[in-house]
Symmetry: C2
Subunit: 189 residues, 2 copies
């Protein structure tokens, strides 16, 4: 997605350790026109995948996910992230490790909002090691539902996430694929 | 907003202690068409208020806030909630107490995304005791900016929040005002 790549080049800040900061349009400040364009693009890519629901994880996935849901005319559910939780029967729960924050959190979705017959499109802001997307996919399979695809706003293609998701047979569509952040500059695949 | 009231009547679940659960369309599962309608309504109400930016707090405020921002053609910023934080110079920080969770968290906004000349519309999913909205308003004043107004999806009018906000001179527009949850049923103002 050309508009997104331009935003990354113009506003993205590369920090030490392969971190790309895009808090001017995605993670903190949000550009609503860009989110609308992202929603339209995901909807076009997955229009024929029989998607019945969008799933994301709070917080930065919510804006692109709700606009994709609006375009596809399906409900969205955002998984809740919590540090630890007593087991609750009405929730699907998976542990997800964040390499950025170096902590494990529990990701939960209410059983009410995920039925066995569903085809779920996972949307997330970033794909790096794939832990968040894999956790959501496990929740979808726990429910007996199917992963219709995985839509990623920014993929760090130099990390292992994409490979892990493809290995499990999922279709992955990333709107911007970063090949490298060397020399403080984003280079695309 | 009639559509929202119907949703609350049909899908809202009243729990003990004056809690209204609306996780089927606002807090966990999100109804994108309803969010679009909410965004349009807030945009109409505040069209002439010279709004330059929308502010909300993660996570449930993000969906209505991004659609309001889309309609008004302005950027949105969502404040980050954290349990505790070492003081960082590049952030505006305010303490916000949550009566529901019985804990205090720090709410932060990057100084980059809030300038002195701005007129900021606060959007939030719920207004009860007003702590979150007051925290955001303090952050806006810290920046030397102005609160253009406060847009609330669901107001618990039997709690103190609205009064506190009006006392400080803010314009408050709530799309559904709940007078009581007695007998397990939502009654509107």
């Amino acid at each position: 997605m050309e508009l997104l790549k331009q935003k990354i080049i113009q506003e993205g800040i590369v920090l030490d350790g392969g971190v790309l900061k895009v808090d001017s349009f995605l993670n903190h400040q949000v550009d609503p026109e860009l989110m609308m364009e992202i929603g339209r693009t995901f909807a076009r890519l997955f229009r024929d995948s029989g998607v019945t629901r969008i799933m994301t994880i709070e917080s930065s996935g919510i804006a692109p996910a709700v606009l994709t849901a609006l375009e596809l005319g399906v409900p969205m559910v955002f998984a809740r992230k919590r540090k630890s939780l007593t087991l609750q029967e009405d929730l699907y729960t998976e542990k997800v490790y964040s390499f950025t924050k170096r902590e494990e959190s529990e990701v939960t979705v209410s059983k009410k909002f995920l039925a066995p017959a569903e085809r779920v499109l996972i949307i997330d802001d970033f794909l790096a090691n794939g832990e968040a997307a894999l956790g959501m996919a496990r929740i979808i399979r726990q429910a007996g539902a199917e992963v219709a695809g995985i839509g990623i706003v920014i993929e760090k293609s130099f990390q292992a996430g994409r490979g892990k998701l493809l290995e499990q047979g999922y279709r992955v569509e990333s709107l911007a694929r970063i090949a490298s952040l060397e020399g403080g500059k984003a280079a695309f695949v």
